[in-house]
Symmetry: C2
Subunit: 175 residues, 2 copies
Amino acid sequence: MENFKNLLEIIKKRKSIRGYLNKEVEKEKIDYILEAFRLAPSARNLQPWKVIIVDDKTLINKLVIACKNQTFIGEAPIVLVACAIEKEAYGTMGGYFNSYPVDIGIAFEHLILAATEQDLGTCWIGAFYENEVKKILGVPEDVRVVALTPLGYPNDSGRDRPRKPIKEIISHNKY
Amino acid sequence: MENFKNLLEIIKKRKSIRGYLNKEVEKEKIDYILEAFRLAPSARNLQPWKVIIVDDKTLINKLVIACKNQTFIGEAPIVLVACAIEKEAYGTMGGYFNSYPVDIGIAFEHLILAATEQDLGTCWIGAFYENEVKKILGVPEDVRVVALTPLGYPNDSGRDRPRKPIKEIISHNKY
């Protein structure tokens, strides 16, 4: 973090990286970002999750196809796959919905911000076919694949994407 | 961040805070944490969200009841309510599921980590009755309330909660 003044600087640096160098990621960096995931909060602290670390090139190439041919994913030395064990999650968030997508949102973003801090590139992948990914990685039927990200050194600086002005996304004491 | 060596230190400091001081939160701090939310990534950058900032004591007391009488929420000067506009979110994440709970998980955790960095306390609230919260705050029928948090200066140091060992939550090239 020596390079970052505060959390907001890390948040601003994080971009969807769609080009990767052919360069290995150091084990210490991988351990660091997995620790950021591991320590995430989850509903009732149930931690209903698992991360699959994919570095086998044949599997990565299959994942590219399952991710609607987003070919840049295949440039990365590693793809991380965030899985949720739905039945182990908190089933009555808000009274009636399952917490697992929120849990994964939190924890995987910890990992992604930690990767950004370590000068690594990532890209939240939501465009994929869950059943195809599950077949490729042997994910059990009752486990959900919520998201993936390539992980590696960026060969692309990412794009600045516009955000809604603050006034559009807040309100005071009523919706 | 002067006080934090790196992101992992902020992550480690974040705990569920269940006691709050009767002390106002500075506007600059509120602006900072909302900015952390605003800049969050979301599926296709759709930003399908809104945060309701509740500081009216009568409303907060009603929210306590809608949150299954978690009375500590009523100690906080502010309650933040994370809403999702389901129909504006990415509807085919993984091929067929709606991204909004993941989107809110990401953005609300940005806010919560930013609050931690600013020495403020928060607590992800998942135990609430969505329809009750919606009635209290006039949230439209087709908008979802995904989570809440009290926000204020801590009067409680929080508990360390155990996490699964890393070996239990990762696997290599297959589930």
